[in-house]
Amino acid sequence: MRTPPLFIHAIEHSAVGEWMRGNVLAMPFVEAAHVLCITLVFGTILVVDLRLLGLLDRGRPVTRVAREMLRVTWLAFAGAVLTGALYFSANATTYWFNTAFRYKMLAILAAGLNMAVFQLLTFRGVAAWDSALRTPRAARVAGLVSILLWVTVITLGRTIGFTKGYDFSVPAGVDFDFSGGGT
């Protein structure tokens, strides 16, 4: 096995990492919370994206839909980062070297970038099309890209569980019906 950077080693052997590995209930609860948070992120952003695409909620101003949903999105995103960090700490080295994990981080970064560009450029002129049935092309593109990227994040997240191999020392699951491993 390759040697990870020092900080990855430190995370894995931190008190939090030890606690995650030592507590049989930590993994299932943290994983369930992580799945819940990420589905909330996706589901709430989807409502905004569908409005940006001009497909649904056409009678509601974009700003109102966004304000209402993004509160939940940010809360859930914070929860996903927290539970993800806990998850990561339990087996930091394995995740560090996992390709699906790396791509997942990139996909999250790309989703953030898409959102930032939308916020800083397109959304500035929202007053002109807030209640419009047909939103500007840039807004529609941002909405579509957002949906695709979050589905990618979820896909890669699930892929990690099937590609991380058998290095984990946390307690067993019963679902190893496939060559790479899997949870």
Binding site: P28, F29, L36, F176
Partner: protein, 183 residues
């Protein structure tokens, strides 16, 4: 025939064997299943929050119901299909998990109560017209909406807990560890 031997018989059918032999099947189905959790749970959450008067208060309730109900039912149908295929791919893992059994029972409760709720909403809208839709919901309905959200939270948790049946339920778990200790 015990449940376990039935599950083993199912697992040895040609269809199940084919699913097991195709490595991308289970992760892909799980990914679709998780994406749909986002769609379904956020739809339930939005309907519940509207009942509580926290979101979309400018829209009459039947309007909110019509906005989210198609997502709810389509999402649930896709989840039923992917869930069924996942169960056929790994019958022993699923059937021999207490989390799976409780999840199926609660799903029945969740779906039947959502159908009953949708029916009563439509009946009330027909009988009393738009005025009724503007009134705040009685306390009982608001409590029911909170319970519904909690019920679906528990169903989501149980779905992830299937992979950790022994850890979560201890000696109550009927699960048989299929392979060595890792996740």
């Amino acid at each position: 025939m015990s449940l376990e031997s039935a599950a083993r018989a199912l697992q040895s059918t040609a269809f199940s064997q084919t699913l097991q032999a195709t490595p991308w099947v289970v992760p892909t189905l799980q990914t679709i299943h998780i994406v749909m959790i986002g769609v379904v749970f956020v739809s339930i959450l939005m309907i519940a929050l509207r009942v509580l008067g926290w979101v979309r208060t400018e829209q009459p309730f039947p309007h909110v119901w019509r906005r989210f109900a198609p997502f709810l039912w389509t999402g649930l149908a896709v989840m039923a299909l992917t869930g069924l295929l996942l169960t056929l791919a790994e019958p022993v893992r699923e059937v021999m998990a207490l989390s799976f059994r409780i999840k199926m029972a609660l799903l029945l409760v969740g779906i039947v109560s959502a159908m009953a709720f949708g029916r009563s909403v439509r009946a009330a809208a027909r009988a009393e017209g738009a005025a009724a839709a503007e009134r705040p919901f009685p306390l009982a309905v608001r409590v029911a909406s909170v319970i519904t959200v909690l019920l679906w939270l528990f169903i989501i948790f149980l779905g992830r807990a299937i992979a950790y049946d022994n850890s979560v339920w201890g000696s109550w778990s009927p699960a048989v560890l299929q392979r060595g200790a890792s996740t």
